[in-house]
Symmetry: C2
Subunit: 256 residues, 2 copies
């Protein structure tokens, strides 16, 4: 069974891509909606939350775990691997780094939450693999609130996207890395701001390819379960919007 | 000692007003920055978080507690009073309701988070006191993210304010109730959308007056302490922006 977790509902974009490529893989998803968002929180807090969730997924039988959140991938991957040395973890950063390496990109822009950008989790491995790459980065903390409001095509989100990104339009950027699992939902707006002239690197798709490659088991059928640490009507419409009408949703409250 | 708590940093606007009116009142503040925001979360989760915080404030010697968060005031006031029957609680809704009653307002608009608006925590007591009052309400979930980004005077926030509120401009509204402790920071934008022709009712000021009235103790000097359940650089600039440069800040992690 494949565990997938995120601070909230954004990681469902990853779950969706995985189900597209490996439809028979049974998944168990955990979204920490009681404590979302994580993007402005400290490393210590994000590590503590991630570890609690991994413990829960392991207790439910997860054999491999996808960290479907860039902030958690950036700040907790090593921490979790040390605590669970035999677990196979996938994160959403590594496959993007590999893709940029293979495609020999020379100018890239990474966008994400404040915590992800501050961590330089993309820059460090990329500069090691491609020492001459020119990297730009921009925290876009207002994207997630807009997307969670269902306003991913709103005129004002377009304005905000311009506010964050227009200074990069003249930099001859080849690709924009969507460094947050919510951002695939607004990729058209991002592409438009760059007049369609950039490649979009979507971690959800890249990690799904890695999971598919590592998936040699047979007969993995079974019901997918989507756990959330909190549930409100607001979540419901968002979740249905991504993964369709009849997900098997359960509430599991963590911690005290 | 007066305890004050909020889901995060918004309640500092309340602490600031209280210190203006009762400067010698020693306060102990708790902001749950590890789990902020609460406005889209469920009642059960918000009650659990509030109770943990009240337990902490009581352990630190709080004799009275201000629920400096509208979402928590709406969803947890009775719940907390039942669990702590001898504690004196102040919330941010009751003093606004009293003010509207005294001023015999006949048309009011309440704005707040989705959870506060859905609770109808202003409508129920107001309709009891003023059965002929015409009440309008609007959830404004994007205000807090903008304010927390320090964009309380940004052109795009003005656009968003229009998006939420312009349909009320022709309703002859006498007052707008700021039903979220962040909103005093953007009261000028709100007033401008109504062409300056509405009264703004600011819960932070109203609850400070109640606290002052109930404050008969002498010699309440001592250091104020501001506890937060998480701390990042981002919080720092925001906190200094509200309460000045040298607050006594401590980190206290709650729960597991």
């Amino acid at each position: 069974m494949l565990g997938i977790f995120d601070s909230g509902v954004g990681g469902l974009t990853v779950a969706k891509e995985i189900k597209k490529l490996v439809p028979r893989q049974r998944i168990i998803y955990f979204g920490d909606t009681a404590r979302v968002p994580w993007g402005n929180k400290s490393q210590e807090t994000i590590q503590k939350y991630s570890e609690e969730i991994v413990r829960f997924l392991v207790s439910k039988g997860a054999k491999k775990i996808v960290i479907a959140c860039n902030t958690a991938s950036a700040l907790t991957r090593e921490y979790l691997q040390e605590r669970y040395p035999s677990m196979i973890f996938y994160d959403v950063i590594d496959p993007c780094v590999k893709k940029i390496h293979i495609e020999k990109i020379s100018r890239a822009l990474i966008i994400g939450t404040r915590a992800t950008i501050k961590s330089k989790a993309y820059e460090y491995p990329l500069l090691e693999l491609l020492p001459r790459i020119k990297m730009y980065s921009q925290a876009c903390p207002l994207f997630v609130p807009f997307i969670e409001e269902g306003l991913q095509e709103d005129r004002l989100l377009r304005e905000i996207t311009k506010k964050y990104l227009s200074r990069f339009v003249k930099k001859d950027i080849e690709c924009v890395i969507l460094g947050c699992t919510h951002y695939p939902l607004m990729k058209n707006i991002i592409k438009t701001v760059f007049n369609g002239k950039v490649k979009i690197i979507n971690a959800a798709q890249e990690v799904a390819l890695q999971v598919k490659d590592g998936c040699h088991d047979k007969h993995l059928d079974g019901d997918d379960i989507f756990y959330f640490s909190d549930w409100s009507e607001h979540n419901e419409s968002f979740v249905k919007n991504i993964i369709g009408n009849k997900p098997n949703i359960k509430i599991h409250r963590l911690g005290s």
